[in-house]
Assembly symmetry: C3
């Protein structure tokens, strides 16, 4: 793959990721990751200060699936949907069989019968594994939110 | 066209669509559609519940032109402009001479002398007809808004 | 470069531009411009009315660097970060050794310990110079903000 194709492939993965969350096909979400993997949510302040801790993290497909099961079964949170606007990826580079990239996002939330509101903005810092046929899986996704102010309930994946 | 080129062609149509609305070249907007065509605005709740009704719909270029004429002549709405941020398209697939795709959008509105505000987020669910030379026209665009809360006056196209 | 490659090259420049601002690598920002160059911030109303004046403008790399130095040294503004969401470029055309294009943006601002908020939306109207190896530099960037309502302190570049 040349650089154009690589950027388009990363973009396509990001769009599929956003689309399965926004369309509430959450059961597809773990399949976009490798196994083992890393999925963590942190803040820009944490990253700037070099603090490795995450507010939420998962390190296997099983943990990702557990998050979705819990969300489906508990179902105590107010009904809501996200809308991801993801930009094209930046700083995309192939490093062996791993693609490193960063992608800015804005997420809007619509709680039933209310106007849509901005929920979070930030960037994905990713390591993607390149498989045969050009398919990419998420080996590591760090979701870096710009604001440290969070809804207490991060039920739906960012 | 390969898959990359197809996605870029859909993206380009979406950007032209957004650009003619945002730049107030609304008279160009109907020419992006085929004739007959379908343009309808609905909500995510309607789509989830399988309700086919649309808040607004047009099924010919003539009806699209009428909307723009009415908007230009009546001109009773407060002066305002939109800014579309459209993502790259997702689920893009060629089905005969028809391209199916979905594209997430956020629309910001600026009413004269006020700060810019989020107006709507949602997705376009499209069927695009592929013409010779690779040109795409909108055969069907369903504008699915995330929130059921609308401004009473949807004057400018979404 | 064909049209696809040209659009991807413009997109890549826009993403690098956004990324160096959002990651606070502001010292890299002037290097994305040619020298001499033009960087100006204006409003949609000014553009519609054909008024050439800009709220802020720089016409050399030196002036761009001065802006960053002043921002770093004065440092009296409240700590804040931007997040740019830039769309793909539209109306991209090669005109001799100059690429003309327009790109819509939304900028979110996060002031320390506060939620992220929309700061500005608008579009970049650009003239980019095409150098050997396909590298693009900004010859002229007019930042057209949709709203005339501005924070008094436009410290960080838009």
């Amino acid at each position: 793959m040349n650089q154009f194709e690589l950027e388009m492939a990363v973009s396509r993965l990001n769009l599929s990721y956003a689309n399965c969350i926004d369309d509430d096909r959450l059961e597809e979400w773990p399949s976009l990751f490798g196994d083992p993997c890393f999925y963590g949510i942190t803040t820009r302040d944490n990253v700037i200060q070099g603090m490795p801790g995450c507010i939420i993290y998962c390190d296997s497909q099983g943990m990702l699936k557990d998050r979705i099961s819990a969300l489906r079964e508990a179902n105590i949170y107010e009904r809501q949907r996200y809308r991801h606007i993801v930009s094209m990826p930046v700083r995309v580079r192939l490093d062996g069989a791993l693609v490193r990239s960063e992608t800015s996002f804005a997420i809007y939330r619509t709680v039933r019968n209310s106007p849509t509101e901005l929920f979070a903005a930030g960037c994905y810092r990713d390591e993607l594994s390149l498989h045969s046929g050009g398919e990419l899986k998420i080996a590591r996704r760090e979701v870096v939110c710009d604001s440290p102010v969070f809804d207490t309930l991060l039920a739906i994946p960012l």
